[in-house]
Amino acid sequence: MIKERPSGVDAEATVGPSWVADAALGIAFAAALAYAVLSPFAGEAPSVALHHLAHGAIMVVAGAVGIRIARRVPPTAGDGQDAHPGGSRPLVLAVLAEAAAIALMAFDAGSWLDRHPALHLAMHLTLMALTFAAAVWGERYRRGAGTLVTAMMAAMAAIAATGFGAG
């Protein structure tokens, strides 16, 4: 008997996208982007904990955008097992992106980034890009995986907020 598999495409979203949700996500993304771009150039640096939590917030928004987009794109040959049984690449890439985001946080301590706001900005954008990519790869592997990966990245920022980079 052939087992029926989910297509990997959000049928509901394809048929009738929720414009309210899209608009809310768009506003959140614009706010996150504004924070990512402007905060490195603000005078007073926030506390380490607040800084990590802010990272968590912009990463959640980037992840949500990634999930939204991934669910509207039909699966391709490189996708995970929903589309092609046995494919592990999207999951591995998602976890590696998560690890890369953690590694990137190592630069986020001390005064070094305060002295180089342009690099700080680049780090914010890279964090958002990595979360976006992790969420997309996650969703391409299995529906729901993008949400889990994004939640894990937010949790990572929360753990870091307890003292990562604080002397």
Partner: protein, 494 residues
């Protein structure tokens, strides 16, 4: 008259392929071979403490670091493979993802081997800040190799956990249903969908806690790597200790919860009874999920600057953590076996013996987590006794039990296997007893040279290691022989 040639059916030869059985076989074989070697390393360390052999101090502490890190990783690997096999059909898991996790485990283990045996890294498996960086007797690259090795193992386990969680979401439509909570709250259920079976509930709990634990591990490891690259990178020592033990305690604890999933899957096959999901079982696993995350605080009782609320949380949840396994899993297993006419074989004997190890090790842990007892037992060999009881006398026995079941147990238990079981279980009992008595006598842990009566008790322990390794050899050879037979003659083993 010409004689007709007699045709003997040739054993079936199969080409190697990435199947669930082949990947699980690789994981089990690798972990058992390395566990055996690290067991010998443990025996050598006990012989050193007994003053039978004399290792240089830095060598002893390198071996201690290798033994601790390696054993946790390898038992996790074996049990992860066991639980994966138990649920792979239900959750539609793919062997390739397990293989990726296995490859990362192997990379990590190789890096730890190089860091300790070649580089001489000796900061202990806990790699507590600032030990890896201050007054070291090893080159800086060994620290780097060790940290990267632990990171690789963590990444491998993270991929394993994420795969299980996403599969649970795909199969049951959410993690709450994966935890079986629709058995407790019917409104959570979906029409026409069955409640998740107990092994899936265990896998979901392990997936959630494992993903969170490895995340914390990655955060502290990246902080240490950043400090390695730039010594000015600030690390708060108390924060580092909290996060390190949060990570370490979760991973060490999950070994036994991975094993619990295999108990649910395989003990019923011996007892001929079904182990069903109900509300109490689901609730107990939600409790375990929370308590495993919060119990690590008992490692920080001596840190007077730790916020008191965390100390209370650590002690109370350490107690609570024992309730779900004791009341639901262990007691449930005893009831399952009671008057069932269970078929005793290597697998069922070791599953049952492992339950004893889990119960005894858990009780010893409870004692140590009680602050009045901890005043006496803190950092003595009692601590080592309790985690060896539930890892060696619990999780490891469950791993061999799974391997035996996996290899096929159609024929009766052989005499060699019976002798091996006696030696293995007897050796483990003697070995653990020496640790417990040493702990009660106040012999400190993590010391190459011990005060009296440590050396005498270490001598007993060394002899016990020889006995248990002899038993382990017989049992593993029996399992290997049956695995080969079932591979060569699958129709006979089926």
């Amino acid at each position: 008259m010409a004689t007709q040639p007699v045709t003997v059916p040739a054993p079936v030869r199969r080409s190697w392929a990435l199947t669930p059985r082949s990947v699980v076989s690789i994981c089990l074989s690798t972990s058992f071979v390395l566990i055996y070697v690290l067991g010998m390393v443990g025996g050598i360390m006990r012989a050193n403490q007994a003053a039978v052999v004399h290792l240089p101090l830095d060598t002893f502490y390198s071996l201690l670091t290798l033994h601790g890190t390696g054993m946790i990783a390898l038992v996790t690997l074996a049990m992860a493979a066991g639980l994966w096999y138990a649920v792979h059909d239900i959750l539609d898991l793919r062997p390739r993802v397990l293989m990726v996790g296995f490859a990362l485990f192997c990379l990590g283990i190789v890096l730890v081997l190089v860091a300790t045996l070649v580089g001489g890294f000796a900061a202990g498996w806990t790699f507590l800040y600032p030990l890896p960086f201050v007054n070291t007797t090893w080159p800086a690259w060994a620290t780097l190799a060790f940290l990267l090795g632990v990171l690789a193992v963590g990444l491998g386990f993270s991929i394993y956990c994420m795969d299980i969680l996403t599969a649970v979401v795909g199969r049951y439509g959410g993690l709450l249903r994966g935890l079986g909570l629709d058995a407790l709250i019917p409104a959570l259920g979906r029409p026409g969908q069955e409640v998740a079976p107990p092994p899936v509930i265990a896998a979901t709990m392990v997936g959630i806690d494992g993903a969170i634990g490895t995340l914390a591990g990655a955060v502290i490891l990246i902080a240490l790597l950043a400090h390695y690259v730039n010594p000015a990178f600030p690390i708060d020592a108390l924060w580092a200790k909290n996060v390190t033990y949060f990570f370490g305690h979760i991973i060490a604890n999950l070994d036994i919860y991975l094993a619990a999933g295999t108990i649910y899957a395989y003990l019923p096959t011996y007892a001929g009874r079904e182990w069903k999901t109900n509300g109490v079982l689901a609730l107990s696993w939600v409790g375990s999920l929370v308590f495993v995350l919060t119990a690590y605080g008992h490692h920080l009782y001596m840190d007077f600057v730790q916020p008191p609320a965390l100390q209370f949380l650590g002690e109370s949840t350490s107690y609570l953590a024992s309730v779900p396994p004791a009341v639901v899993t262990i007691f449930g297993a005893v009831l399952l076996v009671y008057r069932s006419g269970i078929r005793w074989h290597v697998g069922s004997v070791l599953l049952y013996a492992g339950l004893v190890g889990w119960a005894v090790g858990g009780t010893a842990a409870e004692l140590d987590a009680s602050i009045p007892f901890n005043f006496v037992l803190h950092n003595t060999l009692w601590v080592v006794a309790h985690f060896h009881t539930y890892l060696l006398g619990g999780a490891f026995l469950f791993a061999i039990a799974f391997a035996s079941h996996f290899a096929g147990e159609r024929e009766a238990m052989s005499g060699w296997a019976r002798a091996g079981l006696w030696l293995l279980l007897g050796g483990i009992t003697l070995f653990l007893a020496s640790f417990y008595v040493s702990g009660l006598e106040g012999v400190p842990r993590r010391e190459a040279i011990q005060p009296a009566p440590g050396p005498v008790l270490s001598l007993y322990a060394t002899a016990a290691v020889a006995v248990l390794l002899a038993g382990l050899t017989l049992v593993l050879l029996d399992v290997w022989h049956r695995a080969r037979r079932s591979r060569a003659f699958p129709e006979e083993a089926a």
